[in-house]
């Protein structure tokens, strides 16, 4: 089978290399690029992200990538900040985002008092449940995946997987060709690799 053309959208995000390393482990090659032409004609687009929402949105606008991302018809996978930027608005820097999903992105708030000593960020391995997307197979119900984030998307009509920390929220979202995970599949061991593989093989 011919190799699918995969692009990873290049911007100043920390985990671009990790996503690429995971794809290499799966035997795929991806191009890391901000070139609108290449992004438009790719079979699969990955929109990674570790960083701050308002500065990243400003960067996407400057490069014209905001409009482009919203017009894509091939499967796109947003990861972590990538997912949050696909929401309607983010409390991080109070910025309007791409609006692919209607959900706003809110900041976690610790309870007072905090008897369980819960922390922010939500950092570490947590379980995904109520899986409703081609990204997942049913054997992944209850699997642990790796999260690092201080902002979240609430449960809503586009929730494709849920998790629970401080409150139940969306671990993954999907709407038409747009897929997104709040967790890092590229850092989630064998389960994460299977999720990435399923996305590439969609």
């Amino acid at each position: 089978m011919a190799q699918p053309e995969i692009v990873i959208i290049k911007y100043n995000a920390g985990n671009i290399r990790s996503v690429n390393n995971a794809l290499i482990q799966l035997g795929y090659r991806a191009e890391i690029t901000a070139d609108p032409e290449k992004i438009s004609r790719a079979d699969k687009v990955i929109f990674p992200g570790v960083g701050e929402a308002s500065t990243t949105m400003a960067f996407l606008k400057e490069k014209g990538l905001d409009t482009l991302i919203c017009q894509l018809r091939q499967p796109l996978l947003g990861v972590c900040l990538g997912m949050q930027l696909m929401g309607s608005h983010s409390e991080e820097g109070g910025v309007d985002c791409l609006g692919i999903f209607d959900e706003p992105i809110r900041k976690f708030v610790l309870p007072r008092p905090n008897p369980d000593n819960l922390k922010i960020p939500h950092m570490g391995w947590n379980q995904i449940s109520n899986l409703k997307s081609d990204l997942f197979d049913q054997s992944m119900e209850g699997s642990y995946v790796y999260f690092v984030h201080s902002y979240y998307a609430a449960l809503g009509p586009h929730t494709a997987a849920g998790t629970n920390y401080l409150l139940p929220f969306s671990a993954a979202l999907q709407k038409d060709n747009y897929f997104a995970t709040q967790f890092h599949p590229e850092k989630s061991g064998p389960v994460g690799l299977r999720i990435l593989k399923r996305f590439i093989e969609l």
Partner: protein, 252 residues
């Protein structure tokens, strides 16, 4: 439910692991990549690699190693040792490290924490604190150079300051407990966990599986780190997780 994390720590010198490792038949003795892969397969939640090389050439070797580690494992890993400037951290980030840990450089120059977290995000910055309790029930003093030099800083105020400056996690090692295998410094850990709103990693003192349970229950730690008990196969990661799960502690 968010799982408590188990973190094996590997000391690296000139690109090789320092301590002998008996728990698995390795093809290349001392190859950190092979060892890291084995730990990842066993279910370690994260890994820490500490570079104890002093020389400049050794530093370059370490960055190359981080590159190779990043290509072979897909669980998060932290690297530390000798990071004193933004450029050191950037080289490690570009090589694929998920987090860096800073210790004595942060004590000498606390502003480094602010600069690192502003440039790379708090999630990237682990502040490691080595501390010693001067007398029973007394104050904890922050030490550097492997516990040999006492500083002006006290554990709890320094940890809070590190959080305020943008640290994403605190890795606390009790130099009184480290290497003794009598359990972690649970009282101090619990106080850190109550005082701070960022995750606390317990380090120093693991000797048996009960010690990990106590660090999570009494010490209220979010993660526990150990080296020799894992490297010498005194405790295996899968059995430890099975035990913790039976004890009602959420693990992956």
């Amino acid at each position: 439910m968010l799982a408590k994390r188990i973190i094996p720590c590997l000391d690296i010198k000139d690109g090789m692991t320092v301590k002998g490792v008996k728990f698995v038949e390795l093809k290349t003795v001392g190859d950190p990549v092979e060892l890291a892969t084995a730990y990842a397969q066993q279910g370690a939640d994260e890994l820490v690699f500490l570079d104890i090389t002093a020389s400049h050439e050794g530093r370059k070797t370490f960055v190359d190693l981080v590159h190779r580690i990043a290509r072979h494992i897909n669980i998060p890993f932290t690297v530390g040792g000798g990071i004193s400037e933004l450029s050191d951290a950037e080289a490690l980030l570009n090589a694929g490290a998920d987090k860096i840990s800073i210790n004595s450089a942060a004590v000498r120059n606390p502003q480094l924490i602010n600069n690192l977290s502003r440039h790379f995000g708090s999630q990237f910055v682990v502040v490691a604190i080595d501390a010693k309790q001067e007398e029973a029930a007394g104050d904890w003093t922050v030490t550097v150079n492997g516990g040999r030099i006492f500083t002006e800083k006290k554990l709890f105020s320094w940890a809070k300051e590190a959080e305020d400056r943008g640290a994403g996690e605190i890795l606390f090692t009790s130099m009184d407990h480290d290497g003794v295998k009598q359990g972690f410094a649970n009282e101090a850990l619990a106080r850190l966990s109550e005082d701070l709103n960022i995750p606390i990693i317990a380090s120093g003192g693991a000797g048996n599986m009960e010690h990990f349970r106590d660090a999570f229950i009494q010490g209220k730690a979010d993660a526990a780190l150990a080296a020799s008990v894992f490297h010498y196969n005194e405790i295996s990661v899968p059995l430890l997780k099975e035990y913790l799960s039976e004890q009602g502690i959420p693990v992956r």
